[in-house]
């Protein structure tokens, strides 16, 4: 191999030329030309891809099917403190197990997913939308409960594996709860039957009733 002054540079230029000319022929994005013409071509994101949280609801009605019970664990665990929750009250002022206000400040949220890990009710999950820019520096970057609530079908469409796991866990919990309720109901019925039987036995074993008191 010749080793004249400048041969190293020429060898390098072969690489550059190969890349440049290859970018005209290797249109497959894995090879030489990897530019994606956004927004005409959008990247296919992997399933687990996460950007900001959203709230899951079951069924058709967001407010009625919402899984969140306003336990405030995600608000406490969030490292940058971007979640703000206010619990709902009914007409008498009694606390209900649902949030009245659920705000996430996405200019603060870092997408760390700790809220998802800490939620005991499977109600907050990570979305993968990234086109959330706004023209307003403050207001539109705080997203409220209405924008956060998305259906379980949507969750299944963006992350089928995790949605399936969550559904399985919820189903298992429901079955367990139903079985426990059934056992409890049987116990109550058995106790009632036993009490009734005991009362009947006591009635039968009672001595003749005492003479009635004369009415005053």
């Amino acid at each position: 191999m010749m080793n004249f002054p400048g041969s190293g540079i020429l060898k390098g230029m072969v690489v550059t030329a190969r890349n440049m000319i290859g970018s005209y022929f290797d249109r497959a994005h894995a090879k030489r030309l990897i530019t994606e013409q956004y927004p005409e071509e959008r990247p296919t994101l992997p399933e687990a891809s996460r950007s900001f949280p959203f709230l899951v609801f079951d069924g058709q009605d967001p407010e009625a099917g919402m899984r969140c019970v306003a336990c405030k664990i995600c608000e406490k665990e969030c490292p940058p403190q971007c979640i703000f929750i206010e619990q709902d009250r009914d007409a008498n002022g009694k606390l209900l197990r649902r949030p009245k206000i659920f705000d996430i400040d996405i200019s603060v949220c870092m997408g760390c997913q700790i809220c998802v890990e800490s939620c005991p009710f499977e109600s907050i999950r990570m979305d993968n939308i990234y086109e959330m820019s706004s023209c307003d520096r403050f207001g539109s970057l705080v997203i409220h409960k209405g924008q956060l609530l998305k259906s379980n079908e949507y969750y299944r469409s963006i992350n089928p594996t995790e949605a399936a796991e969550t559904d399985a866990r919820i189903e298992a919990a429901r079955i367990k709860k139903a079985a426990a309720a059934k056992v409890a109901a049987e116990k109550v019925a058995a106790a009632r039957a036993a009490a009734a039987a005991k009362a009947a036995a006591e009635q039968a074993a009672q001595p003749p009733s005492e003479p009635e008191q004369p009415a005053p």
Partner: protein, 382 residues
Amino acid sequence: MSFQPHTFSFNESDGAGASTLDVSLGPQHPSTHGVFRMNVRMDGETIVKLQPVFGYLHRNHEKLAESHSWLGTMPYTDRLDYICPITNNWAYAVAVEKLAGIEVPERAEYIRVIVGELTRLQNHTAFLGFILGDMGAWGSALMYAFREREKILDLFEWLTGARMMVNYMRFGGVRCDLPVGWLEKARAYVETYPAFLDEMEQLLTGNEILLARLQGVGVLSGERAINGGLSGPVLRASGIDYDIRKVDGYGVYPRLNFRIPRGTKGDCFDRFMLRILEARESIKILRQAFAQIPEGPTLNPAVKQRGFKPPVGEAYGRIEGPKGELGFHLISEGGEKPYRIHIRPPSLINLTLLEEMCLGTKLADVMVILGSIDIVLGEVDR
């Protein structure tokens, strides 16, 4: 002893009839790897005095950590050395596991090694791009390096959900298991990587301009490197055989077979070539890890992540990050929040001898020396 040039100023004649020029290099500068400032005093083009100025990216992670739970600091460690978030997570997890005496299951250790070595690969790939950018070859090598690095980041996104700020390690394991098909894809990718390194070597290593700019520049002897607290590739390029993966033997590294490359002259070219050689060794490690990874749990079930309360005490845990020794010094009072977390940043300590290395060199060499140390400002300033 500090001098404050504002833009530039000519000093009065320093006795020998010549006057020196004070220049502030940075904080906005394309070659300083972030917001980093150096006050230099030059006699012509030769550096007579150099003072690095830090603090432009100071976000005080250490104070923030005192107001979060132990788990809540994990996403913040991603943002320290933002080129290699996974190894930052790993260092923090190792330190907490040392503090609390937590065991990690085997599969989790292998997963940690796999993603850690992939992080090392992408860091050294990015380094190749950055140092060429620092020298003025802005664009070509950088884009080839980043094109390669994207493939690794895609693997991370598939595994953890985020390309960079992964928040993946947990105390006693990793957050989630490898998805179906991930290992095969990673294995296939690692087989294509040596071809990329060969191409980069053909592009760069024979290049006469690069050799002239890197060889003989910024020479650092081994004893000065040890005394200055340098670690990582910079220390090894000065001839010292010290790699924490071999010395401490954390994780499953004792079972894996790999060599430690060592430099001979301690100049910038040694640091450059050493990282290429380290990348090749990482490929060897990855192939062995892919072959040896067992089935099993990925998280120690005895450890509560939320509401985690380590025992009272303190610990210092460290790993061999791609930039050097990344350590966490933790002090716990037994509560849910740490009493004190101190981060030992390799990039900051590697800058201790910057002035020594740069005295007597030309201004253009300062950029090359700084580039060869491979700093990230997120880590320097925390």
